[in-house]
């Protein structure tokens, strides 16, 4: 029997190793798998390279992972937001690396990695500082820059409902990087608000096919990052 359901976030993240490349879903708090990130903090893996659009808020979730010095390098498009304090501080002190990537290029580097394509040409960033040192090529009279694909060892993703095959549906704009990050890692670990029986998800409406998912854990009432930040909570509690 195929059963990708595991009992706890701790069990779900147990295999993440020191030095791993980890994709973490979310756009701000929407879609951020906060319980999986907290389980990863408890688990202790370090020297991680993390790929995520932002760098977290306050002292919970991704920001807490960074604050505990588990992340040596961030690959992201927008490392500062209104409530991000941890990353800017470490970055200014030269204590964390940053690879800044335009958001659409980040998405395509993740997607193409999952699709088995090692590199691609894009018009984004041509003529800007973010294209410096990269190979360029002309197609039909227009210049494009070559971007390399990213693959990860693990992805941490949040969704609304999943079945034991790992088929997923998401919630509104919390979908964001989830589907492409599921495709882009050797091991994809998903926290879902609800586990449903096989057949309950309409096959026409499945967003992530189960083949892209390794483990699913149910987190019925996930924490709301913005509430935790407003209360100035810090993980571990």
């Amino acid at each position: 029997m195929i059963n990708k359901i595991v009992a706890s976030p701790a069990e779900a993240v147990a295999e993440i190793f020191d030095g791993a490349v980890v994709m973490i879903g979310g756009f701000g708090e929407a879609g951020s798998p906060i319980e999986l990130i907290h389980a990863l903090i408890d688990q202790g893996a370090k020297d991680l390279t993390v790929i995520s659009n932002n760098t977290g808020s306050g002292h919970v979730g991704l920001a807490a992972l960074i604050a505990h010095r588990r992340v040596k390098k961030m690959i992201c498009s927008f490392p500062r937001t209104a409530n991000s304090k941890v990353f800017p501080e470490l970055y200014k002190n030269g204590e964390i690396e940053l690879e800044l990537v335009p958001q659409g290029t980040l998405a395509e580097r993740i997607r193409s990695g999952g699709a088995g394509i090692p590199a691609f040409y894009t018009p984004t960033s041509v003529g800007t500082p973010l294209a410096e040192g990269k190979e360029t090529r002309e197609f039909d009279g227009k210049t494009y820059v070559m971007e390399r694909t990213i693959r990860a060892d693990f992805s941490l993703v949040k969704c609304r409902a999943a079945d034991r095959y790992g088929n997923l549906v998401y919630n509104k704009t919390a979908r964001n990087f989830g589907p492409i990050m599921c495709m882009g890692a050797e091991n994809t670990i998903v926290q879902t608000k609800q586990i449903v029986e096989l057949g309950e998800l309409d096959p026409e409406a499945v967003v992530t096919p189960g083949i892209f998912v390794s483990k699913v854990v149910e987190v019925t009432n996930p924490a709301e990052e913005s509430k935790l930040v407003a209360e100035d909570r810090r993980y571990p509690w």
Binding site: A30, S77, S125, T128, L130, V207
Partner: protein, 220 residues
């Protein structure tokens, strides 16, 4: 009584209306963060426009009523929004396919500087020590989408924002189509910057004095 400096030119709301008037019925539009967001409130009666937000929503509606915010329904500026009937959600690679693949019609952005050639600088002032952050700015201007810039004509210090060459790091080269300021509406053409409309009480010379490159006038 404190004397008030004479204020001439369009208000921010007027500027947003000017942009909205140039958005045809049926357009798919991406609005940048800040001043561009105001454009949605000025679409003329009878025109239907669908708003895209690059974090994965086509059919973005206005901000929700207080108490109805959903942390998983936000825009690219991470503000709470609503979804209109007929809206759809999608992942980031599809969202930027809509942008880079020229499926979106118009993008309205803010600017630090726009050059004579239509180069745009709007993501970084290049200040030492600043944390670089680019988001989707470079992707939005990379395709052949029409790029409308809405911006004050000069900086707070009175320096021109329309310049011969951008001194800030570029977002994209030769990408801007039209600039909507508090003083004028200016089209970026291959042979230069053409003033299409002047704000009430503003002369061509007044705009030229506050603009680095030479401005042109359409022949009557």
């Amino acid at each position: 009584m404190v004397s008030k400096e004479e204020k001439i030119g369009w208000s921010v709301s007027d500027m947003a209306r000017n942009v909205a008037m140039d958005i045809p019925n049926g357009s798919y539009v991406n609005l940048g963060i800040g001043m561009p967001e105001l454009v949605a409130g000025h679409v003329p009666e009878g025109r239907e426009v669908i708003y895209h937000t690059e974090n994965g929503l086509l059919g973005m509606g206005p901000a929700p009523e207080e108490g109805h915010e959903d942390p998983e329904l936000i825009n690219a500026g991470k503000k709470h929004v609503t979804a209109i009937p007929g809206a759809c959600y999608f992942h980031h690679a599809d969202s930027f396919t809509m942008i880079r693949g020229n499926h979106i019609d118009i993008c309205v952005l803010g600017a630090f500087q726009v050059s004579e050639a239509g180069d745009l600088a709007n993501w970084s002032t290049g200040a030492p020590g600043a944390i670089p952050a680019v988001g989707g700015a470079m992707d939005l201007v990379a395709g052949d989408i029409k790029i409308f810039v809405i911006s004050r004509h000069t900086t707070k210090e009175g320096e021109p924002k329309i310049v011969k060459e951008c001194t800030y790091p570029l977002t994209g080269k030769q990408v801007v189509d039209t600039i909507y300021t508090d003083l004028a509406v200016i089209d970026v053409k291959e042979d230069g910057l053409y003033v299409r409309e002047l704000a009430p009480g503003v002369t061509f010379d007044y705009v030229q004095e506050r603009t680095d490159p030479e401005l042109k006038q359409y022949s009557p």
